[in-house]
């Protein structure tokens, strides 16, 4: 894992054990570790250092000992010790060995996985992107695929069906993998992409599958954010919509806000409302409310979707009003009902 914080921490520990002042700068000349006065004192030093950037041997410059650290043949950062001579060279060499051990090179698969988990900083992501020829100029979406059986066939299907350059699959475990793909299009395209994955894996691979997609299209260094979105969609989607099978993060933003609430507070809120929660056990009424919300509180559209007479719909909404004191036709009451429905599923606290 290449990470400036780690370099700082390590350098700090090393500094405690050596007399000579230690400085670490990155390949652009930014100070990663060391006394900032160093820069002020040695403003011209960095210009000179450029000449030494590809130097693989330990060298001395004025009163400094310099040693470049290469990762995969690319200079990544420079160790600078204030002082010259045998002792300084020996210490610089030892520090280099420590960093070499830590900054091992990751395979493409390992890199993608660690990038998803947010274990790389931006510099490291772009370093590896260059190494593995991953396009840095496009934006990416992340989809999590969870299968009932082992994922090998599903992976083969996905890798063959989407024959595009900017698509990567990463195995998370025996039943789950991630698809990272570039996209220029928005929500509809993500839904279509997810549907195609689901239908193809199920019909060709004979296994049930769940697909959760991020909503954001992000630059490469924000892949972790998109992965968290897909993870949230998978968790909350299953809680709210059960076996629907395709979950898009955008649909669960409201639930995500409620998901962070303390359960005790949820209980207090519910008690305050003092309504008949047997409503949440009546499937027909819940389906009616869901359809009514989906159709923006429009009676005619909802009746059409449910294939019921408008009067039947009004009767059901009246029944809900009698049970809860909340009139779903009014926005504020509808919002409360929607909140209650989401809480009921998230926390299972309504009995």
């Amino acid at each position: 894992m290449i990470n400036n914080d780690l370099i700082k921490r390590l350098s700090h520990d090393i500094q405690k054990n050596i007399q000579m002042p230690l400085y670490i700068i990155d390949k652009s000349g930014n100070l990663i570790y060391g006394n900032e006065d160093f820069f002020a004192k040695k403003a011209g030093f960095l210009d000179i250092k450029v000449e030494y950037m590809y130097e693989r041997e330990i060298c001395e410059l004025e009163n400094y000992t310099i040693y470049n650290i290469f990762i995969d043949n690319i200079p990544y950062f420079t160790i600078i010790l204030e002082g010259v001579g045998e002792e300084a060279r020996r210490i610089a060499g030892l520090i280099a060995i420590i960093f070499d051990q830590i900054f091992q090179v990751y395979s493409k698969e390992e890199f993608l996985l660690k990038m998803l988990y947010g274990e790389f900083d931006e510099n490291s992501i772009y370093y590896y992107a260059e190494k593995y020829k991953i396009d840095k100029s496009v934006r990416y979406a992340v989809v999590i695929v969870e299968t009932k059986n082992e994922i090998d066939d599903a992976l083969k299907i996905i890798n063959n069906i989407f024959n595009r350059t900017n698509l990567y699959t990463v195995k998370l475990n025996d039943k789950k993998f991630v698809v990272i793909f570039s996209s220029h299009k928005e929500k509809d395209s993500l839904i279509d992409f997810s549907k195609t994955m689901k239908d193809m894996i199920e019909s060709e691979g004979y296994t049930k599958v769940k697909i959760a997609s991020s909503s954001s299209l992000v630059p490469l260094h924000e892949i972790h954010k998109a992965y968290k979105e897909a993870e949230t969609a998978l968790l909350l989607g299953q809680k709210l919509e059960g076996e629907k099978g395709i979950y898009l993060y955008d649909d669960y933003i409201f639930a995500e806000i409620l998901w962070g609430i303390d359960v005790e507070k949820v209980n207090q809120f519910i008690k305050k409302l003092d309504i008949d929660f047997s409503l949440f056990k009546e499937e027909e009424l819940i389906q009616t409310l869901n359809a009514f919300f989906r159709n923006s509180l429009n009676l005619s559209e909802t009746a059409r979707e449910l294939y019921v007479h408008r009067n039947t719909l009004v009767y059901r909404l009246d029944k809900i009003f009698k049970m809860t004191g909340l009139d779903a036709k009014k926005f504020d009451d509808a919002l409360l009902l929607k909140t209650m429905m989401v809480l009921a599923k998230l926390y299972d606290v309504l009995g």
């Binding site: 063959n160 069906i161 024959n163 279509d192 195609t196 239908d199 004979y206 296994t207 049930k208 294939y307």
Partner: protein, 374 residues
């Protein structure tokens, strides 16, 4: 080739949502059965239970006489074609059809034989070396079907396979699928929300709503004798007109009265009443758009079946014209000859073909008429 039997099948999801309730159906070998209903009616869940992609909560499922509740999908001798199919873009037609068999590690010679057989059935022999981008939309759809055919399944399961196609190709593929069924002589179970697809393709139709079978019958029987208001409204386009009416006995004749109008109910319909006591009660009267007439000849022949209606909108469809009418607040749609002179704003006379009346109980919404036994 195999029959499929579902006995008292339920699907209840965690959290208690019941998607399918007490589903009973015997699908005969080589039958083309269509499950149809609105979104959320349980048709896809039923198909997925047959496929093994959803577990059956309660009940029994038999394929070819064997109980398969706990048999994994790959061992059920089924093949699936779903709505969002995609072809492998860098593979030839041959490889596209072979891919699924390769995953299952079928011997190469057997794959070759099956792919060539399927290509012959689908008329794709000369395209086997082409890539998908060199195919027409119809040919691509056939390749997708080919992937299912090469599995040589006992049962084909199809979930809205034509929904992503444009209207013209959809009509063409409807016919091709029907022909394919004839050629393969295999059981097809087909899910759609489109009642036209159901009517044109199925040997039998299963109409579903809220996880419950509403009616199972041949297409024409469902159209002529809908069991309830839902089926009557769902099957047929434009949909059946419904009128809250009262059956009244006047001097030995029974009339359906509504909004100040009366329509004579003929003896043939009265004989079919399940319970004569409906006379004198409120019912729901149903009449299909094609059974409303504005031709002079009809209006003169059946004067006791004529009412007045205001024309709201006319829609010329080519071979027919739809009149959207208002009868004192009741909306009616009539499908009439395109030579009609009616235009928006006119008050016209409209005649009911009373032998084609449908009647439903206002409370239970079930039909109150017996079928004609032929």
């Amino acid at each position: 080739m195999a029959g499929v039997v579902l006995k008292h099948v339920y699907k209840v999801y965690p959290g208690g949502v019941t998607a399918v309730k007490d589903f009973n159906l015997e699908i005969e070998d080589k039958e083309f059965i269509v499950l149809v209903g609105p979104s959320g009616c349980g048709k896809t869940t039923t198909l997925r239970m047959i496929a093994g992609l959803e577990e059956i909560t309660q009940g029994e499922l038999y394929i070819d006489g064997k109980l398969v509740n706990d048999v994994p999908p790959k061992d059920r001798d089924i093949a699936m074609v779903f709505q969002n199919y995609a072809l492998y873009p860098h593979m030839t037609v041959y490889d596209n059809m072979a891919f699924g068999l390769k995953l299952r590690k079928v011997p190469r010679a057997e794959i070759d034989r099956k792919v060539k057989e399927a290509a012959k059935i689908l008329g794709l022999e000369e395209y086997l070396n082409r890539k998908p981008k060199a195919l027409s939309g119809g040919q691509r759809q056939r390749v997708a079907l080919g992937r299912a055919i090469v599995r040589n399944p006992k049962v084909f399961l199809m979930d809205e396979p034509l929904s992503n196609l444009d209207a013209k190709l959809r009509v063409q593929m409807r016919t091709e699928l029907a022909k394919l069924h004839d050629r393969l002589q295999t059981t097809f179970i087909y899910v759609t929300h489109d009642q036209t697809e159901a009517m044109t393709m199925g040997t039998r139709i299963v109409v579903m709503k809220d996880g419950v079978i509403q009616q199972v019958d041949k297409p024409q029987t469902i159209y002529d004798y809908p069991n309830n208001l839902f089926v009557a409204g769902f099957i047929g386009s434009p949909q059946m007109n419904f009128i809250d009416a009262r059956l009244e006995n006047r001097d030995g004749k029974v009339y359906a009265t509504f909004k100040g109008f009366s329509v004579l109910v003929p003896e043939g319909i009265l004989k079919r009443l399940k319970d004569p006591s409906y006379v004198g009660k409120e019912i729901v009267l149903g009449i299909r758009p094609e059974d409303l007439h504005d031709e002079e000849v009809f209006l003169e022949a059946y004067p006791e079946a004529v009412i007045e209606a205001k024309v709201e909108v006319t829609e010329l469809m080519g071979p027919e014209t739809y009149l959207y009418l208002d009868v004192n607040g009741i909306p009616l749609t009539a499908r009439v000859d395109p030579r009609t002179r009616a235009k928006a704003g006119d008050v016209i006379k409209i005649g009911f073909d009373v032998n084609k009346l449908h009647m439903f109980d206002k409370e239970t919404e079930m039909t109150i008429l017996n079928r004609v036994v032929s």
